[in-house]
């Protein structure tokens, strides 16, 4: 946009200016919180279950004479986050009391499918969390049933993390979202924020701290995930920039337009640069928990801003009628110049 200068003000294309950089306004912060908590909860459950399978962390504490395993609570609390996130979707509805209707059309609607995926994950996840933490002997009997339940729940956790991206991808008229890279980006972000949520919860109190090896594996994995997330974000934005005119507008809006503070400050600085720098300082200072804490909180904020940024920069595909308007406007201005 912009070309010649008249009276010191920048000349802007009036029609394009209306259409340009005008993102959707229907889904805002509440949906971003929902996507973020659902993604982070599901990601942390995936990481936590893998940790549980391969490292078997355990820290049994006695309360009222009963032995509760708090290490399990610290790594498997993802479903609680998803359960907190789901009401945000209800909060965004016009008529909240009808929220149960949202599962009536799973044949074609991703909102309905998501409702079912999240519900199943929350129920199964909470049952398994209770099973791992509660001190009842009969719950801990090794059986194929529990193993299958864990596999099913981890599959639904993956589905939940992917769904947060697929929900947006299903909106075909917004080219910024209509790509398979978006579910991938949200999945990687879910895993990185999820692993950081586990690190924070285990560091939260020294009582719950895992053994050093587990924490080291978790930190290493989390750093790799952050790097992968950065690469996926770069590929996503560069591919979208070339995809279509409106996708290009969306990327421009995010990188150089109205949302640039959100992108450079919220996503790049808080989501990638600060956590990496702080974690490096922490590793130099022999795992100083203060730096890890700061890195964790900042990274989690970055994860939220990533969802918010992608949501708030979604510009609709141009309809043929608007293109016609543009051509008409061009013809009119050309005629005016000729006269």
């Amino acid at each position: 946009m912009g070309g010649d200068t008249r009276m010191g003000t920048e000349y802007t294309h009036p029609i394009r200016n209306v259409r340009y950089l005008r993102p959707q306004k229907e889904w805002k912060e509440i949906i971003a919180i929902y996507l973020y908590l659902a993604g982070m909860g599901a990601g942390s459950y995936v990481i936590g279950t893998l940790l549980n399978w391969f490292v078997h962390p355990s820290r049994v504490l006695s309360i009222w004479g009963l032995p509760f395993d708090f290490a399990k609570a610290a790594i498997l609390w993802g479903p609680i986050l998803v359960a907190i996130g789901a009401p945000f979707l209800i909060l965004d509805l016009g008529i909240k009391r009808r929220f149960l209707y949202a599962c009536l059309n799973p044949r074609t609607s991703w909102v309905a499918r998501g409702f079912l995926i999240l519900s199943i994950f929350i129920v199964f996840g909470l049952i398994l969390l209770a099973k791992s933490v509660l001190p009842f002997e009969w719950l801990h009997a090794e059986s194929t049933f529990w193993y299958i339940a864990e596999v099913v729940t981890i599959a639904f956790a993956f589905a939940t993390a992917l769904y947060t991206g697929i929900l947006l991808k299903a909106t075909k008229s917004i080219p910024l979202w209509n790509t398979y890279l978006l579910p991938l980006l949200f999945l990687v972000s879910a895993l990185s924020t999820g692993s950081m949520a586990i690190i924070l919860s285990t560091l939260g109190t020294s009582l719950l701290s895992l053994d050093a090896t587990a924490l080291k594996i978790l930190m290493g994995g989390e750093q790799i995930l952050v790097v992968i997330e950065g690469i996926v974000l770069f590929v996503y934005l560069s591919r979208r920039y070339k995809a279509s005119e409106q996708a290009k507008d969306s990327v421009r809006l995010l990188l150089f337009g109205e949302k640039k503070l959100l992108f450079w400050g919220g996503i790049v600085l808080l989501g990638f640069i600060f956590p990496v720098v702080l974690e490096s300082i922490s590793s130099l200072s022999h795992g100083n928990p203060v730096f890890i804490f700061a890195a964790g909180i900042i990274l989690l904020c970055g994860g939220f801003f990533l969802r918010l940024g992608v949501l708030s920069a979604g510009i609709r595909e141009q309809i043929p009628m608007q293109r016609l308007m543009e051509i008409k406007y061009e013809l009119r201005t050309m005629k005016m110049k000729e006269n």
Binding site: P14, I15, V18, Q24, E26, W27, L89, D92, L93, G94, I95, R98, F99, Y101, A102, C103, L104, N105, T108, S109, W110, V111, A112, F115, A170, T171, K172, S173, I174, G314, R316, E317, I319, M321, L324, M325, K328, Y329, R332
Partner: protein, 161 residues
Amino acid sequence: MEQKVLVVDQQKCTGCRLCELVCSVHHTGSSNPSRARIKVVKWEHVGIYLPMICNHCEKAYCVEVCPTKACHREADNNNRVVIDKNLCIGCRTCIVACPFGHPFFDVQERVTVKCDFCDGDPKCVTFCDPKAVTYVDADMIQVAKKREAANKFIDSIKQLR
């Protein structure tokens, strides 16, 4: 059954927005254009006005994404796409999905609303003086366009003579 559709002739639209007013009166009982099912997009400085209507698309995204089946097609009623107010939860997914930005969120009723052809007698058509919005048989749209093109061709031949 013959299918009828709303057709917009943008060149005839004067931007008076009477269609918005009568639409809101008919559907809501209040003269509040922000609650209308038709929206006139205006570019005043270049004198271009574009009434935006629902196209009742063959492959309607709003129907596809609706989680409650509130937004559905009535095949036996002019093949129109309508929203059942009693099923709508106001999630606004249809608004995000529609490439024409058509379904509108009614802030008073807290549900999404859209054009339903006023059950066969569209008020926007009845009250549009310049006839910028017409309600015609779907088959006749092409005929009208062809007639218009032929008239332009005749005019240009006349000018050459």
